[in-house]
Amino acid sequence: MLILTCPYCGLDAEETELHPGGEAHLKRVGPEGSDEEFEDYMFARKNAKGVHFERWRHAYGCGKWFLAARDTVTLQVYGTYRAQTHAPPQDIVDAIRKVRPDWQPDWSHAE
């Protein structure tokens, strides 16, 4: 029963208000992609023990999708941010590094 702050409406949302959407920052592979690229996009998930970026929809609130940086072991939330980005903002990265100095960003693309 997590609590995540919706970055759109600012509410601290109870997990029951939210709808999970799996791993964040996936890059869509369209008709031009190879079989391997498409397989990776469609099925390969990080299942991280530690820092994880994930998609959540404030389904019983403002209806917006947002992204969360969370630690799957300690349950610490490093921050939530709007979904309209290809990589987490710097303040989120800083918050992660503060707790896990060795952490390296590993999302599949950054633009």
Binding site: M1, E14, G30, P31, G63, T74, L75, Q76, A83, Q84
Partner: protein, 975 residues
Amino acid sequence: MTHTPPFRLARGGRLIDRAFQIPFRFDGRYLRGLRGDTLASAMLASGQMLMGRSFKYHRPRGPVASGAEEPNALFGLGQGGRFEPNQRATTTALVPGMILRSQNCWPSLDADIGAVNNWLSPMLPAGFYYKTFIHPRPFWKHLFEPIIRRSAGLGRAPTDPDPDRYEQAYALYDTVVVGGGIAGLTAAREAAEKGGKVLVLEQNPVWGGRTPVDHKAGEATIQALLDDLRGRANVTLRRNTMATGLYDHGYLLAREALADHDPNQGIPRQRLWRIRAGHIVTATGALERPLAFACNDVPGVMLASAVRDFIVDYGVAPGQRIVVVTNNDDAYRTALIAQEARLDVTVLDARDSADGDLPQAARAQNITVLTGSAIAKVTGGRHVESVAVCDQKGEGKHTGTIDCDVVAMSGGWSPIVHLYSHCGGKLLWDEAQAMFRPDPDRPPLGADGRGNVTATGAASGDLRCAGDLERAEGATMPVWCMPANAPYKLRAKMWLDYQNDVKVTDVLLAAREGYASVEHTKRYTTLGMATDQGKVSNINGLAILSDALNQPIPQTGTTTFRPPYTPLTLATIAADARGEAFQPLRKTPLHAWHERHGVSWEPVGQWRRPYCYPRGDEDRHAAVNREILAVRNSVGTLDASTLGKILVKGPDAGKFLDMMYTNMMSSLPVGKCRYGLMCSENGFLMDDGVVARLTEDTWLCHTTTGGADRIHGHMEDWLQCEWWDWQVYTANVTEQYAQIAVAGPKARDLLERLPGSIDLSQQALPFMQWVEGDIAGMPARIYRISFSGELSYEIAVPAGRGLELWERLQEAGRDLGITPYGTEAMHVMRAEKGFIMIGDETDGTIIPQDLGLGWAISKKKSDYIGKRAQSRSHMKDGARWQLVGLESLDDRVIPDGALAVDEGTNPNGQRKTQGRVTSSYHSPTLGRPIAMALVRHGTGRMGQVLEFPLPSGEVLKGRICDPVFYDKEGARLNG
């Protein structure tokens, strides 16, 4: 020595009111207790020490504890719908007229035939199921399993519905203190002084925990703390409330007993608090551990703390002659209290010396104290009669015998660490105190990454938390086996887990057989797996295991602490979400009309849709047939309001819909409709419906009834997370409109009878177009679309006018035999036309190409959701099952889901399959059964016959044919 009255002492009993007697019934006998009694104290006061039979060996058992950790004294309580099994006598308050039944015994608690297992116990060691019941193989199913199933399970499940009300409430607090003893109340005062909302939860009806029993000045100290807290506006005190589990980010569940076992108060029986706490303080105290000596399960062997609780709280003497056996100073409190109550007391102390304040006080009261001593064996069957005394360091050689009727044992204390551990808090082994206690450096973390749980008082390992009230205590000496070098014969009678009958020898056997992990040993021996979850047994068990494995205790570790701390009744978890309130019911604007006209409902998601409208003596099948023929021959109306309606608007709406649908929507002219298919990114068909272009930049997308919310969410997902720079808005307007399908050859005649501005002629409104205007004085949008295969109009009006339009239609069409029809008639008619239905022809593994819908997939578009997936080799494999029609050769409806068998068998020895029936009906239009099926290479196998074996052994035959059974040319629908 015999167990003799009086059991209720002449004086004392701080919780009872001697002026009020309370009658209750136990196994048919009438007994009496006093107001303030628990079931356990009332039964002990009645001389009833025997309270249950153990699970495996059916040994006679009495209460061991006085609280939530009690493993033995469990009863079936109440009658009918209020019957509840496994109710703990030590925590259940006595209520007038209570009816108790003993469990796990037959024919009675006193004469239990299952006790024969006790004599067989040498043949029933740990893991005996796995070892014994393997061979011969066929015996398992027909002999062993039925017998084991009959003897498994403790208590009987109630058979009637629970008549009581339960409720849930949500609360937010800055600090929640769990435990209303001295540590908890002190912590609450500290938190309250700092500010913020503070909640204090206490599991019992009374405050104070152990302090009022253990300390002369305890009650006054607790009262002063309570007075202070009650005067503070930011503090809430809640008794009778058990914190059962702690979850992520400070989510705490607590069960408040409001009217337990007393249904006459007219209030909910229990309330489940769902609390969000900024910080949690666990002041949950500690549990006393039993000692492992031979026959430590005979009724009358109790925890030392429980013996003094019964004396001080309830004025009940569990016996007249008490032997206290201990490895610590605390148990001397029991000796002193028993002595003061004029009971006969002897203390056996396993330690070589005992010189703390408490032992000295005991000696000063002329209590006999034997140090370095132990119990070799307890004698007695249904009740303790005597103990054999021996040297703790020896092998059990008797040095004397003491006649007694109660043994008060204390093996030290274990902090209650459950809540601290539920959500990831770690424990450390405290060698000096021989206990696992919360590691303050590794608490559970909150969302901010900081610890959000603090343990305090005895729960943190500080057993002397009563501050000034405490006296100096000597050190506890770990005693895991009494005497230390007991031979096998004695160890085989030392109980660890009372409820599940796990003994020291069972754990030793598990260790010998290679069970090195404490989690595996738990499951192999069932140690700690009973309804008490091993509250009194686990630490002793893992200490024995560590010893056998020759490793330190922290290396063995504990088993996982999982919520709930004490059992939670399912009714509390369900609360008001029962019956009609289980989930919301969605009603169309025509719901009441359907109900007035004899509707037979079909649940579709949260909606209720008319399945059909039986008339007179008609059954559902006859009603459906009549409705279909009415539509085919004249005209019918369907409530289509539940169909999803999603507005998509904006400069990039066309481009967006081209991605959402497999076909081209951007090229659809204003005023026209197009049937569209929606696939998942994995290529599978997930929804279908008619899309209408309303204006240059606005489309209205119809979805399936069940798909409306999901498809709207799907669109929003892609718009917000992938193409966020596209200018598109979506709105789910499903409930804004009432939509009525008017279908049949007389549909146009009927609509033209209603006054209005709309030209419904074939020239003005041909198939797959829509028009806006006025009908019967209502603003309406009319779509010329058809799911029945007949001439058909779907009319959308504002939801509030739906009933008016429906009634005007019924009135205007009376002479035409207008017939309201339901979803089943709709389903049969669409199958006659070979139209697919999401959920029938699709199951999440079907692509449009399988269903002959390749025509609805644009070849011109470079991309759409699912396009890449559909180009994978398996999706293009010619061996995929394809949609065909089936003609039954037996003139019988082939059951939905029936499999078409193929030659040969698969590796599991099962017949190979080559297809399955996806929709199957009797067609009243054609007067014969029709079916749709997915068949390997189906479209190339017209005329071939497939076999469908039924579970009954019969084999039905179907011939592959075109899936369109009716009006192949579409003349009727275009008419």
